[in-house]
């Protein structure tokens, strides 16, 4: 037995290194990838993974979801939820796009504001997201209504705003300097799309913030036990506003990237992205009851979604079968993950 009957200091120095829970879901990701690899050789006669372009696309196509998921993970850790992410993506995409049009467009939204430096469009998109996040956070923190309702309201309203902004018209013909943000770069022979770089950068920063800073400790504390957090001197309201603001900012960033990638702003952009983002977080081990979750898990969860999409197309699975199987795999992945974690706990 490792405990003494009377614990001396020797007893609790440091902590024995235990594997973080993400290792288990990482195992699931690797497992899924290997299955696709094997099926690839059998049915397509080709390697799934040994294809640089595919690898970069796997992450590229989920990098927008991933950025949202990183933000929403933090919200969920506080025992909240953000349903507005997808709508905020749409609104931010519209606003950013409207400031990134070329003068070549006879129907530009702001004919006087064409051919501008992309920086304005980006800032505007981020600003929209931040603002939405602050409103969400303030509603949750100050009025004490459930986060579900506060962000549902924002979801509906922001979508309305996105449509109203140009009365439903998409914002097209964006400047190349702006769409550049959706482009790929060849780095050491590897096609690395900028959205992927941004996604991973955001993930690293937020991982550090959650793990090593006061901001992170407060976030977990509020989710784990808000009453105890308050008694421990944490200003819950103020902190929640920060967390929702960051989630909003990241949704704004996702919106800017979506517009840049699609070279247009569509009011319907980002519909249901919040669900994918929440799913990525939950697959990655974040608990909707709060207090538990890590960015590394969310990144893995996001990549699982990407691998599924790419893998199915690679195997030429029919679109409808794809959906049917995707649902099953999501469930199976989490079951396997839980099972492995339980086993590890017992061992």
């Amino acid at each position: 037995m490792s405990t003494n009957e009377i614990a001396g200091p020797a007893n609790i120095i440091g902590s024995k290194k235990r594997l973080p829970p993400e290792v288990s879901i990482l195992g699931v990701l690797i497992g899924i990838a290997i299955v696709f690899e094997i099926l690839g050789w059998i049915f397509v006669g080709d390697s799934f993974l040994a294809n640089k372009q595919r690898l970069s696309i796997i992450i590229l196509q989920v990098s927008v979801i991933g950025i949202i998921a990183v933000g929403v993970t933090q919200v969920i850790i506080t025992a909240g939820v953000d349903l507005s992410s997808g709508s905020v993506v749409g609104l931010a995409a519209m606003v950013a796009a409207s400031l990134a049009q070329t003068s070549a467009n006879p129907r530009a939204v702001y004919p006087a504001l064409t051919d501008m430096s992309p920086i304005w469009a980006i800032l505007a998109g981020l600003g929209v997201g931040l603002l939405a996040g602050i409103v969400n956070g303030s509603l949750v923190a100050r009025t004490k209504i459930p986060p579900f309702i506060a962000t549902l309201g924002m979801m509906v309203s922001a979508r309305g705003l996105a449509k109203w902004y140009t009365l439903g018209q998409p914002v097209a013909l964006l400047d190349d300097s702006f769409t550049w943000f959706g482009k790929s770069f060849n780095i050491l022979g590897f096609p690395l799309p900028l959205p992927v770089i941004i996604f991973l950068l955001v993930a690293v920063i937020c991982h550090i913030a959650l793990t090593y800073t006061r901001y992170g400790k407060f976030t977990y504390a509020i989710g784990a036990n808000p009453q105890a957090a308050r008694v421990s001197g944490i200003n819950i309201g103020g902190h929640l506003i920060k967390v929702y603001a960051i989630a909003g900012l990241l949704s704004g960033l996702a919106g800017v990237m979506t517009a840049a990638r699609a070279a247009s702003g569509q009011p319907g952009m980002g519909v249901a992205y919040e669900l994918d983002a929440i799913a990525a977080a939950v697959i990655g081990g974040t608990s909707l009851s709060g207090g538990v979750g890590r960015i590394t898990g969310t990144v893995i969860g996001t990549i699982i979604l990407g691998v599924l999409t790419s893998g199915f197309t690679f195997l030429k699975v029919g679109a409808y079968y794809q959906e049917i199987i995707k649902g099953i795999i999501i469930v199976a992945a989490v079951i396997i993950d839980q099972h492995r974690q339980n086993k590890r706990k017992k061992a």
């Binding site: 080709d46 294809n51 372009q53 595919r54 696309i57 796997i58 590229l60 196509q61 070549a104 467009n105 006879p106 129907r107 449509k163 009365l167 439903g168 018209q169 998409p170 097209a172 013909l173 959706g182 482009k183 790929s184 096609p191 799309p193 979506t258 990638r261 699609a262 070279a263 247009s264 569509q266 009011p267 319907g268 952009m269 999409t309 790419s310 197309t313 690679f314 030429k316 679109a319």
Partner: protein, 292 residues
């Protein structure tokens, strides 16, 4: 009184169409109330019922599901309110009665014009066989089904002259972002099409964005769409889009309002009212730049 309008959604083309309705109504000093059904059949049905409760003079519907128009027709007919379908051909187009009408374009033409032009370009490039990818719109919309059928029909008949091999055919629901993801996945799967034939321009643009992001030379692949939206024409001008088909939004919208007003006044109309499709290529695109 008012004319109630229920639009299926607010994508690029339907927004132009809606503007067409607004404009011709304004020109005729006819007040309109416009609702958008967000692709929800139930919601559209409820919107129609709310119009009936508000006792509008006529209802214009751009149906979400062209096979589910029966109940709307019946509700309007029972209430004695004229109903005009626009742009999407309702399944009961032959049974709309004296107070019902359809204003739209004949989808046999759109897909046929589009595909034949693709065939012509391929033939010109000296091909006898070509791999194509087909992007399908929302299958609840008769246009998506017809335009896709047109492609197969042209291929099966003798009109094409090039053998089109369909590599894959999937739906992207009229949506450019979904189309971009679909194309990206096709690229990742290693498909190398000679042509991408899309049911509308929005999806064609999504495909183009994906191909450009993957570093493809757009001269090596033919991309075709339908609608001739502003944005599509800009892509055509840049040499990315090769074929589109002009769908006359103003004429459809104007026709719908005109028909609705006539029916409201008790006048008789002929139905369907056909607005012709027109092929658009880089050669003639200049005449269309300000139309949609």
């Amino acid at each position: 009184g008012d004319i109630g309008v229920s639009m299926a959604n607010s994508d690029t083309f339907l927004t132009v169409l809606r503007k067409g309705i607004e404009k011709s109504a304004a020109d005729a000093s006819q007040p309109v109330v416009i609702e958008i059904a967000d692709d929800d059949v139930n919601k559209q049905l409820s919107q129609v019922q709310n119009f009936i409760a508000a006792k509008v003079d006529a209802i214009i519907v751009n149906p979400v599901d062209t096979s589910a128009t029966g109940p709307m027709t019946k509700l309007a007919t029972d209430a004695g309110i004229p109903i005009v379908y626009v742009n999407r051909e309702p399944i009961d187009v032959g049974a709309l009665g004296a107070k019902g009408a359809f204003v739209g374009s004949n989808e046999v033409d759109s897909g046929t014009l589009e595909t034949k032009e693709v065939c012509r370009i391929l033939k010109e490039a000296g091909k006898t066989e070509a791999g194509i990818l087909i992007m399908v719109g929302d299958l609840a919309n008769q246009a998506a089904v017809m335009r896709t059928k047109d492609i197969h029909d042209v291929n099966a008949g003798s009109d094409c002259g090039v053998k089109l091999n369909v590599i894959d055919e999937q739906t992207a629901g009229w949506d450019p972002v979904k189309a971009q993801d679909l194309m990206t996945n096709w690229i990742a799967a290693g498909h190398k099409p000679d042509a991408v034939i899309s049911n509308n321009d929005n999806m064609a643009i999504g495909a183009i964005n994906a191909m450009k992001a993957a570093g493809w030379d757009m001269k090596t692949v033919i991309v075709a769409g339908v609608d001739a939206t502003q944005e599509a024409l800009a892509y055509m001008k840049a040499g990315d889009l090769d074929v589109t088909v002009f769908q006359n939004a103003a004429a459809q919208g104007g026709g719908a309002v005109e028909t609705a007003m006539k029916l409201a006044k008790g006048e008789a109309v002929t139905s369907p009212v056909w607005v012709p499709f027109e092929l658009v290529t880089p050669a003639n695109m200049d005449q269309y730049t300000t139309k949609n």
